[in-house]
Symmetry: C2
Subunit: 551 residues, 2 copies
């Protein structure tokens, strides 16, 4: 994001490899040069000018490097001359100049997207003539809506539909994209190439997995997910495929989601200058999974796990935390909180929830002290069920710069933990999160113990351990039930009447709705974390904090 | 927000008073029944159904109460039958039924607004015939854009343009609205009535101040700002004014902004069930102003001020905090942090910024302990300059459920403190924030000392007092300069080249840009607070956290 120099250099490197491979045209994802989504940065005139200058520099550089004959398709930000509003633009670099600007027509303004806020709409379709082949172009949302540029291209007649995309990952979306591409390819009677961004950007993870389908729906080529990739495909000028490309195998759904979380964390760290992380290790499943993801993202040697037992922590929890740290090769430190708790209580004499929150907040202070003194990123370990119900202490266990599992329901946390352990048992590291051209980090190393996450962290009843014998089930419905209610209430915006019609009992429905509504103010102050479901907390779900509606 | 019952009852009460005053038509603000802005709550089908049922209930109730002949104009949420998308709707209740739906045409999708996200656009203008007078209606943004429904109404010919609005306060906007209304009244050759919402809703403050201008631009009537008001205006059926209405005097700019902050806080408390607040009192100007605002919002007896001196706190600071608390009638408690600091340092041995942050975080734990144990709202006391530069400790002085001065630059904080003291000296309380029909709270009481905020809190050089002799000016440019750079960089989106052209020196520009950009992650976790400027942090300014652009 915003790294014009770095992005242009990357284009140059890949263009060179493309040219060496005999390519006539090479395409990069939506807003290649600027990063995506650029949000209100689009309004900064100096940014738009710098992006324009960089595109020109790149065109010149390509030509100087002997690639003046290659057609290089990149995304960038443009400006509508009439309104001075930014535009989401595709340009072709060729012959040393920037030409053939196509501006995105349909501007997504739902879910996580705010493009109607920042961009003016493009109003014409563009067909490139490359060696006699007619290549129609479109940008992301243009293929998700009927009509518009794709319909125009179908009418004009093209030999290839080339789309550049910045399509954020969510579970199950891969199939949706493929089905959509097949529909559009049929519509234009030509193959369609879908080029997608890869990498984490704040709360979004772009999963790559670029692919090409033939007019009849055949999958001609597919890149692996979650890694940068340069794929070649050889088409005749009339769009007929000369020889099949490489089709990467599909990922297991658990591996997909796990890898998305790891990539989201890894790129947040890399792009914000962090080389390590710290987090509290309670012995519970949430912190165990986050620590394991962190080890996969940056190597266990860069993870500081801090055990902060209290008078209510069980011996088993401490052992589990220590075992986990050893399994993933993390640093492990113990900071008992009892002396600090006593020091506060000598002055404050708190009771009930206030005393419970005090324990969590002392831990928050310790985690942030590690973060500040070691210059590492503090990770919050809350899951989506907990975030939904406000079952966390703000400024306590909620502290951190990033929250890798905030979009995973508790039942999904367990599933991914089991998957991660099973992957180790099968003797494989996790799916490729290494960036092409870089060394693979020490991710996916196999611990001697044969598992990463201690079995007892997975199987024991969840507890915050803030008072003797406390269990999550004292305050919350059973997670299997809770997660189903949450999915209906949050992802499907089902109100009270709908939830009753879904078959949930009134007591559970009222409890869950009350908890979720009352926790909105806490969610607003929660760290960013990767969206992996159809509806994540954050900009994907914008509800007022002050809200009296209870149905 | 979402209080359909309460809002409908309020409409009923005012309609009764209107009818008793001989009104033929009474109008309420945009989305009267639902609250505004409803954000993604619009997507909940049960909410739309409940709003529809409530409008029908209200129509029946009005008729049963003998008001079937009155025309009652209210705003609510509707549904577009074709797309099933919500609509921002105006309905007229008359003769016991809901009729004459007009749907907002222009949907604002800039600044704090996301209406293109949630609503489908209306596509036809509506003229009501009331006793032979042709009343054209429009909703808020419809008058801010040229063309559309107002142009249609001008062509159709009307005797009155009636607009219902939910227009959030920002400094200087009153004049803009009045000028705009004059332009529209001239366009339709008829008087224009501008009915605005009043009250706080999360980060927005609606300032009321409803008014009517004649076709020639004469101000016929104006309600006071920041209070609910029922104003009568007597027009002939051809739109000619029979007799002038009451024109409330304009407010002083300082009083306007101060009152907006107080109302924002007061309504956040009232609507979220808080009767009191707690905050740290450092003796500095920020916490002093916030405490004074809090006393004006809920009465000094409901304010808990906590002095948390450290080894680096000056004697003067402690005296100022105590004086302030006494002046505003707040509870005052002292919790020295040194023993707690020592307890942490015995384990952690932190240095530099980590040790400074530790002090602030111990204070955060104490403030939240008060909040939890007394059930009061914790207030964050950061100002906009501090928030911009990240000159605060996350989870330390940044803790709280609401941040009353987060949109005030430091120089504005000083101005408002002086204004507040001068208002006391003149023997007046602050401008009316009491809600019509409620008792006035014990706001604006005059302390015996003759001032609320100790003079030395205003005049002394700002310091975080986290190390010996520390001053804000060690880390930041002088506030007079800093605030000008911030206004240019943040409100006007000036990039580096623009700021240099503005005449700022390169060192200052680079320092400020670096500080502002690096603090984005902290701002994301900062509490809500009232927007009072043209561009507040929060949904008004959406920038990526991960961002390498530095120009």
């Amino acid at each position: 994001m915003g790294d014009l120099d770095g992005n242009a250099d990357r284009v140059l490197q890949y263009a060179r490899r493309a040219a060496q491979g005999g390519a006539r045209i090479v395409a990069f994802p939506e807003m290649t040069l600027t990063g995506y989504p650029i949000e209100d940065l689009a309004f900064r005139a100096t940014f738009r000018k710098a992006a324009w200058d960089k595109a020109n520099w790149l065109a010149t550089e390509l030509a100087a490097d002997g690639m003046d004959d290659l057609y290089v398709v990149v995304g960038t930000v443009g400006t509508d001359r009439a309104s001075d509003k930014p535009r989401n633009r595709l340009v072709v670099l060729h012959d040393g100049v920037v030409w053939a600007g196509y501006d995105k027509h349909f501007l997504p303004n739902y879910g996580v997207f705010d493009e109607f806020r920042i961009f003016a709409s493009g109003d014409r379709s563009v067909v490139l003539d490359i060696d006699g082949a007619r290549v129609g172009v479109a940008i992301c949302e243009d293929i998700w809506q009927d009509g518009g540029p794709v319909a125009e291209l179908a009418a004009r007649g093209i030999d290839l539909l080339l789309t550049i995309n910045g399509s954020p990952y969510e579970e199950g979306k891969t199939h949706v994209r493929l089905d959509l591409a097949r529909r559009r390819a049929a519509e234009v009677h030509a193959p369609m190439a879908y080029v997608n961004q890869v990498g984490g950007q704040d709360d979004l993870v772009f999963d790559g997995g670029s692919f090409t389908v033939d007019a009849d729906g055949t999958l001609l080529q597919r890149s692996p997910m979650f890694v940068e990739d340069l794929a070649f495909l050889d088409l005749d000028t009339d769009g007929a495929s000369r020889k099949p490309g490489v089709v990467a195998p599909a990922l297991d759904p658990d591996e997909e989601v796990y890898t998305a979380c790891v990539l989201g964390l890894r790129d947040y760290m890399r792009k914000n200058g962090f080389t390590g992380v710290c987090l509290g290790l309670s012995g519970g499943i949430d912190s165990a999974l986050v620590a394991t993801m962190a080890a996969d993202a940056c190597g266990g040697g860069n993870v500081w796990g801090i055990s902060m037992p209290s008078m209510y922590s069980s011996e088993g929890s401490r052992d589990d935390a220590a075992d986990l740290a050893r399994n993933i090769g993390a640093h492990y430190e113990v900071q008992p909180i009892e002396p600090l708790f006593v020091a506060f209580q000598n002055r404050m004499r708190l009771e009930g929830v206030a005393a419970e929150n005090l324990q969590a907040r002392i831990r928050g202070v310790i985690v942030m002290a590690y973060s500040n003194s070691k210059g590492v990123l503090a990770l919050a370990t809350g899951n989506k069920s907990e975030l939904a119900c406000g079952y966390s202490t703000i400024y306590g266990d909620a502290v951190g710069g990033f929250a890798p599992i905030k979009d995973l329901l508790k039942t999904r946390v367990w599933e991914l933990a089991r998957w991660r352990n099973a992957a180790v048992a099968r003797g494989v590291g996790i799916g490729g999160i290494a960036v092409a051209g870089e060394d693979r980090p020490d991710a996916g190393t196999i611990p001697e113990s044969g598992v990463a996450i201690p079995e007892s962290s997975i199987t024991k009843p969840p507890s915050a351990e803030l008072r003797p014998g406390q269990k999550d089930s004292d305050s919350l419905p059973d997670y299997a039930l809770l997660d189903r209610v949450l999915a209906a209430y949050i992802e499907h915006a089902h109100g009270r009447a709908d939830l009753l019609a879904d078959g949930f009992d009134p007591t559970t429905v009222d409890t869950v709705m009350r908890l979720v509504d009352r926790a909105e103010w806490k969610r607003r102050q929660y760290p960013l974390g990767p969206k992996v479901t159809a509806l994540a907390f954050g900009r994907d779900r914008r509800l007022p904090v002050t809200n009296a509606f209870r149905e």
